[in-house]
Amino acid sequence: MRSSRTFRHGGIRIEAGLDWERRGPVQNAFLPNGAVILLKQHAGPQARCVVRRGEYVREGMVIGRADGPLSANVHSSIPGVVRDIRVAALPEGGHAEAVVVALEGSFDRLGRKGERYLWESMGRTEILTTLKDRGVVDTEAPGMPLFDLLGDRREVGLLVVNAVESEPYLRAETSLLEDKGAEVMEGLAILRDVLSPKRTVIAANRPLAPAWPGSSEEGTVEYVFLEARYPQDMPRQLLEAIDESRKRPESDAIILRPSTAFAVYEAIVLAKPMVERYVSVGGGAIKRPAVLKARIGTPIGDLIEECGGFRGPPARLVLRGTLRGESVHDLDTPITKITSAVIALDSNEIGSLSKTPCIRCGRCSEVCPECLDPDLLFRLIEHGLRGRAMELGLDECTVCGSCGYICPSRVPLVSAFSSEKAIAALSPPPIDAPARGESNR
């Protein structure tokens, strides 16, 4: 075990909400009366709907079939009747079809303790296609299907199980690691079988109990304890902290969340499709923050109610994280395969939102983990000089949100960067509007 390490440049320290007392093991959330199962919970195009309105679906039955590369199968998380198939808004923006299933009938498959499948005899291809069938995606946004993510990767240099949670109120990954250590380790063993990594590391920001099941495997799997400084959980910062030599290219590493390893375990060993996930429910406006094991498609409002409801009027509802997540206003927004957290912030936590002029204090470039100058980039974007901004490193911006967090003037830096990057990803390099002299600072 090594002492806590971290990345070098920039970063922010957020004290509030990083740690809260967890009471007992993670509970199963109540089953939703109606599950809204989005057919796009993954990076690629939405799955093709294969059920009809009024049809009875069993638990774990395919309701959406993967449609092209980066698409993934979607399964019904509860048994019931398809009440509706409609277009719904995605939390991360855009729209996709959703299948609304009304709970009915009995749990004929997943409720029972199944046979443990002996995967050791499975071949690499067999494992990958099984993962594809069961709709297993990386649980970190944007939800890359594992079949596509791992398909052409053999003998990677480094496999990291990333349990670092450096954003406030996130607790799902650590809880999973603590409660389901043996299962996560078995999922990891399957992943190691597929990837044959030279080195395997579990990175966490909380120390694991000595009795943790994986502790016996020391030697094949390393444990690294990292500071919870934000954005420690992002790929470059993670690799920098793990890899002292800093010579490994990012492309030689595969980083997965414990929940992904757990989903692999369930898919291969228990033959269970990806229909559940751990969700942290927290934030200043939540009465009893908790980590719940929820069915995909459960409305976030149900989970909040199960955590005692709101303590006071919430000022903002956030999915996935307060620095990189999305805000939603609809309590019927369903949990997807990548919804790691539901956070309700009170107005005190949000603080002042009023924008004031930039006072050029330089805090943004101080905290930028990619050594960029957000102030300069923002000014360039404001003047329509996206090409120059790209040259000065805008394409290296990971939209981690550190600059936006620290800015005392609340300059909308992060929205500007993310939209510029989105535009740049779609279009060829722009021709800059004629520069207004060379004097743009």
């Binding site: 509030a16 956030v318 912030l345 002042s352 004031t356 006072i359 204090c361 330089g362 967090y405 003037s409």
Partner: protein, 369 residues
Amino acid sequence: MRRAKALSMGDAPFIFNKRTSASLIWGTAAVLLPSLAWGIYCFGASAAMPVAASISGALAGEAVASGLRRRFTLWDGSAFLTGLLVGMAMPAGIPLFIPAIASVFAVSVVKGAFGGLGSNWMNPALAGIVFAFLNWPGEMSAWTMPHRLAGLAGVSGATPLGFARSHAGVAFAGSDPAAILGAGGMRFSGFDASVTEALNRLFFAPLGAELPNGYIDLLVGNKSGSLGELSAVLILAGSIVLISRKMIRWEIPASIVSTFAVLTWAFGGLPLGKGFFDGDVLFSVLGGSFLIVSFFMAPDPVTSPSSRAGMLVYGIGIGALAFLLRYFGSSAEGIAFAVVIMNCAVPMIAKLDVVAFRRRAFKSAGTTY
């Protein structure tokens, strides 16, 4: 559809550091209050008048400018701080129209005309002070002795700095500034005499050194001068607050003070007819508005570089210019001019900085930057 009421939407991040620009500016103003209070205690309640006039001028100027820009900006504190700093640089008995006009100039011309807070390229408060110095040099040098020291209100007297300067080289060549003050008839307080005596007895005598009279007065602020420059102790205490609470970056004042101190030590003895490496660092640093300008005005984020390398270049430039102007310029108060000159150089420093210190950015940027 269930909706929670009055939810704010928008893009990440959704939480912020508690510090806002307004809280930084109001906080800086609050840190100045002890100095102001000490000034009013020393000079009497009437000394508050120039400050009041200056703040009113600044707020009026900001109100007009914010009206023109159709954006209410009075609460960001920047005009108040400018007014406070201008007022605290004025002699206690100055005609009230001077601080008022200097503040209006600072806020509306230097700041407002360039687009308001964040867009000005020169520190408004310093520009206002320099404006007053250039327009009313006589009034701006009519210092009064503090009540408690002179025993009489309204007795005029030069600042220790100006006094030493005007008497140096004439009759007292080769002596220390403090000796010049003493010989020239500058008065010290009883407090200074007793503390100096005690310090000499306890600390310096065993070391074979002796502290001349006058330094303790300089330190605590028993001297003539503006409200702001009066007490070095209170300004330094304020600077500790500013730096420890990260309201300013330490690099700027540190580089100013160290550059200035080294140059004074090396060459500061020359105008007094002494040799190299014999300057009176303590006297130079404690005297005049050097400290308040170094800690409260030079690090103004708007008009100073934002990278560490840039800050050091900026600070060293100010320290060197302040030394040159104080010892070889026309006025004893060189530091204000030094900062204003370096303010003008900030865009250039920022540009060089992109080239020289951000290699990563430079590599991909080609040769245009």
